[in-house]
Amino acid sequence: MPETGRVRGVGMRRRLAFLGLAVGQLGVAACSLALFVLAVVGLGLVLVAWGIPLVVAVAALTRPLAQVQRRVSRYVLRQPVDSPYLRRTAGGPWSRLRGLVRDPARRRDLTWLGLQGTAGLVLAILAVLEGVLDLLLVFVPAGFALRLDCWLSAALLGVTEKSALALRVEELAESRAETVDTQAAELRRIERDLHDGAQARLVALGMSLSLAEAQLASDPEAVRSLLVEARASSLAALAELRDLVRGIHPPVLADRGLVGAVQALALAAPLEVGVHTGGVGPLPAPVEAAAYFAIAEGLTNVIKHGSARRAEISLSYAAGELRLELGDDGVGGAVVTDGGGLRGIERRLAAFDGRLAVDSPPGGPTRLHMVLPCASSSPKTSPSSETG
């Protein structure tokens, strides 16, 4: 084993570290044994009052212990051992228990407790002996038991195909729920806007017109003012409908595609905005809309907070991914907060498995990097070339 040579070569410090870790593993193994016994007792008593809280408590204690083991394994094996847990479920003891049972990582934790409490205990004792011998007699191949122990733990505690899938399912369920919520809220907003806006204006318009009709013979002067009112109502209704349409699907996006719509957005912004595009062709309509609104939201943020004098937008398409960048020369310090504009962008992108990265040191400048995976039908043709 070449690593043995290295361990010996590295000398005293590494050997002392390994001995320390072996002692630590002894502690981990002892804790595992205790927790395993408690878990078995708890599961046995699940139908009795004390069972469930006991299992939940054991799970709560197991997680940090397993995290310690992951770090040790990572250090000893020099390979990543990632944490595979699903998000903790909130609520009463029953729903928390259900959450624990549902999570494959928790079930594997339990197996690990059993193994670490028994075979791991033996291995840890051997590892300590090994470490001591290694200190006294330099030629003994060191760390074998420790490595084996860490390897076994890593195999049980790492991310498996199954837990990776479970994590993915959780992620998808979350982004779907957010998408559905956002859409429902969007529809409610549109309904309210129509109800209080254009619809109400049309009612007023109709009333003015029928009043005018009734007074046509008797009071021509009143009719004139009613007609002026009616015209004002119809203008206001049109303006409100126009704003509403822009919020649903901006006409310029339908006309000119993403590149043209972003150029129009840049032109309408109250600061100087440079637009750079490369190889972005027609994309699926939902992707274009998401990208457009993400940029629009980002630009609104720049205008609202950034105290920026200039902004740059760049769009590029490569390897099935649309990359959007929005930079400004404002004061920086932008963070994603709940209810904030950046959170909104994140939500929009999440529905397409897209990502947002914010680079905004205090004092600026700010850069937003957004990536949207998508299948472009023909990324080589630019929509502006068709308009010529």
Partner: protein
């Protein structure tokens, strides 16, 4: 005056024909799609084309494209574009050939018949008429490198009204100043934007273009 009209919604088409004919403007042909518009314009050589932005077959910006193509065939053909919404991007494209005779208005402006007919006449006469909403978007937008930034607030107001296609008399009425004061402002605007002395109408178009940053 002879006009070719392109509008795909029958209700609005009939309304516009009625409105124009009530003001002694002859509608020589009314069409409902982009390709027929181009054919009608070439066939009739009208004094003005009144065009809806969204037309079949694409139902996108067909009207603007057909208008631009017609102007490529017939330089300076006056075109008044009507739309449910306005985009600065389209205003720029329409004005890009710097030939004047361009109008770009929200359909809502038709409600004010007097002003609408006035706009029709100005565009037919080679003037530039932009919707107040486009002009509004431009206000306060000028960057530091923009010559428009060197104008005084009053001069900007005047330039904005100029972009809406208003005459000096109308601008004077709007801003409650004398017509002489308006022409002093416009001369100062032309100087600051570096526009050489020439026919007033053409300089107005160029000033609006500078305003648009085109």
């Amino acid at each position: 005056m002879r006009v070719v009209l392109a509008e795909d919604l029958a209700l609005l088409r009939d309304g516009l024909i009625r409105l124009l004919e009530a003001h002694d403007i002859e509608v020589v042909e009314a069409v409902d799609n982009g390709p027929s518009l181009l054919r009608a314009l070439i066939a009739h050589q009208p004094d003005l084309a009144v065009v809806d932005v969204r037309l079949p077959p694409t139902h996108t910006d067909e009207g603007i494209r057909a208008a631009l193509e017609a102007r490529a065939h017939m330089p300076g053909l006056p075109v008044l574009v009507l739309s449910q919404y306005v985009e600065q991007l389209y205003a720029r494209e329409l004005l890009a050939d710097r030939a004047g005779g361009v109008g770009y208005l929200l359909k809502d402006r038709v409600f004010d018949v007097g002003q609408f007919v006035d706009a029709v006449e100005r565009v037919a006469g080679g003037g530039t008429v932009l919707d107040p909403e486009v002009v509004g978007q431009l206000l306060g937008r000028a960057g530091p490198a923009d010559p428009v930034a060197s104008l005084t607030p009053r001069e900007r107001d005047v330039l904005g009204l100029m972009a809406e296609g208003r005459s000096n008399a109308a601008i004077a009425g709007r801003l409650f100043i004398t017509e002489k004061a308006v022409s002093k402002h416009t001369n100062s605007i032309f100087t600051r934007l570096g526009l050489p002395p020439s026919e007033d109408d053409n300089r107005r178009v160029l000033a609006v273009l500078a305003y648009l940053g085109a």
